[in-house]
Amino acid sequence: MSVAAQAPVRRAPRWLARHETLLTIILVIALIGLGAFNDRFLTLDNLLNQGRLMTEIGLIALPMTFVIITGGIDLSVGAIVGLCAIMLGYSWKTFGFPLPLAIVFALAVGGLAGFVNGLVITRVKVPPLIMTIATLALYRGLAEGVSQAHSVRGYPEWFYIMGQGDVFGVPTQLLVLIAAIVVAGVALDRTTFGRTLYAIGANETAARFSALPVDRVKLTVYTLSGLASGFAAFVLVSRVTTTRMDMGMGYELDVIAAVVLGGTSIFGGSGTIWGTVIGLVMIQLLKNGLALTGVKGDATIVVIGVALIVSVLIASSLQRRCD
């Protein structure tokens, strides 16, 4: 590894630690504050239920953290969720696939959608922002075209275990999310793959000259993002029991908000899974807490928008002071 690859790693934890500490403190204060306002908020039932609700965003936020660390972005994730949900429902209902095969098929479509993003980004060198804006329209359009706005429902009972079931009292998908968090965290922090992500984000040219497989790693990251979106689609369909073409609409905003709120720099080169998880939990609990204290759902979006801008402002001023 070259100096360029190590430099940000050595420097980052200092302010990152601060950002995450700051975030955790805000989270704890928010928790206590919201809990004091409403006695339904800090109950185990409510918290577990919130865990259920945040899983889809969380699953996508993990690979999105990877993507953003490499200095990229993926705006097509919400559209991929919609496309995969439609593919799941249609391959089962219309093409007559057995349901387990339909699930695998949907995951494959998600992986393929992400792979196409990654392929064009690495081979043709289209900027990720533009590529994924284009495929956001394309994938959503395919979902609309294939489904012709028809929804699919009436899945068998076992299908709902993922979205509505419990294992030892914990929502099934929350366990999946926790496992995914551990895997992503270890992959990012303890493997060559993970360290390569930081190297690419910090200085892509330097990473190339250090003989790192830049294109292959980027391709992997975008494919993972598509795959995770496909899995999120499965969880979502299982939770809400129906397949619609507008599923996952606007997810990209929630996902990116969680990642950026968690301290991952949008310029690439720094960020942690831990931060993303805190960002994710914070957004979900903020939404829920505000809703319980009587704030309408739409007003909580405003709070998230403000939180996003303010947190990035604070992070960037902290970062400048550290440099």
Partner: protein, 315 residues
């Protein structure tokens, strides 16, 4: 000579060619009524794309414009219904558009937060704010005099006049004025621009403020066309506007493109959407066609640039 092979010329040919081909398949497509509907119904997208082109040329992006247009249209309509003078209902959205966009531009330019993050946050704020304030109520009983879009100048309907004027004004200004050239310089290479005496930060702020003005104008065309304003944000509008810019030849890498191209592209996209209906393709395929179109244009643009760079000269 090279200008004839430009994106603008290609788009103009595509706009006419498509009309001829679809007209051949279904002559009703060429009915004056239909062509006028296409232009009138989409003029506001072209107007918004003028500002968006400037933002993209300067090397930034704005994904809050759709929500902003929804908010401004609602404010404009509410003012008119509340009995404010029509002129106030028309001018307040323009001023507010400039103010909101300038604020975002200031954060992007001076605090160096990437435009994608700032406008993403603003999108949430505007969208959530609008629904929680209005509750999604429809605005009806708009006074007759409010409908600016129903007026016409020398026989040309107002939305088309505004679209043409906005495009022409911006095109000339961007091509010939020093501040207009500064946008290209900033987007092409901010550091080089600075060394040439251009202030990139002020340029970005100015671009966003102007973009706000065009967004205000777009919301005006949009709102005054409607008999009922839905007081929600038109979903995916930002995407349509960005598509128009990108298909119009504005390069997302900054520094290249014109708003003539984006206006032509806005017309082309509207034409395609309408054509699909006339050749009996389900409207649910429209977005897929549009997505494929952006993808193809973007890839072609990048490949063309790479080939030019390989030949040893830039832009």
């Amino acid at each position: 000579l090279r200008r004839f092979a430009s994106q603008e010329a290609l788009l103009a040919i595509a706009v006419i060619g498509l009309a001829v081909v679809v007209g051949f398949v279904n002559p009703r497509f060429l009915a004056t009524r239909n062509l006028a509907d296409i232009l009138l119904g989409n003029a506001y997208i072209a107007v918004a794309a003028v500002g968006m082109s400037m933002v993209i040329i300067s090397g930034n992006i704005d994904i809050s414009v759709g929500a902003l247009i929804g908010v401004l249209a609602t404010i404009s309509g509410s003012l008119a219904v509340a009995g404010a003078p029509v002129l106030v209902a028309w001018l307040v959205p323009l001023a507010l558009g400039v103010a909101i966009m300038a604020a975002q531009g200031a954060i992007v330019a001076y605090l160096r937060i990437p435009a994608i993050v700032v406008t993403l946050g603003m999108l949430s704020i505007l969208k959530g704010g609008l629904i929680s304030v209005t509750g999604g109520k429809w605005i009806t009983d708009l006074p007759q005099s409010f409908h600016l879009a129903d007026l016409s100048v020398l026989g040309a309907p107002m939305p088309v006049v505004i679209m043409a004027l906005a495009t022409a004004f911006a095109a000339v200004w961007m091509r010939y004025s020093p501040s207009g050239r500064a946008i290209y310089a900033t987007g092409g290479n901010a550091e080089a621009a600075r060394l040439c005496g251009v202030d990139p930060q002020r340029t970005v702020l100015m671009v966003f403020a102007l973009h706000g003005l065009f967004a205000g104008l777009a919301s005006l065309v949009y709102a005054t066309q409607l008999r009922v304003i839905q007081s929600t944000t038109p979903s995916g509008l930002e995407l349509t506007v960005i598509t128009a810019s990108v298909v119009g030849g504005v390069s997302i890498l900054g520094g290249v493109g014109t708003d003539v191209g984006s206006t032509l592209a806005a017309i082309l996209i509207a034409e395609i959407t309408s054509a699909l209906v006339f050749i009996n393709v389900s409207p649910y395929w429209t977005d897929a066609v549009r997505g494929g179109l952006i993808l193809a244009t973007v890839i072609a643009d990048i490949l063309r640039r790479q080939r030019r760079a390989a030949r040893g000269w830039k832009k």
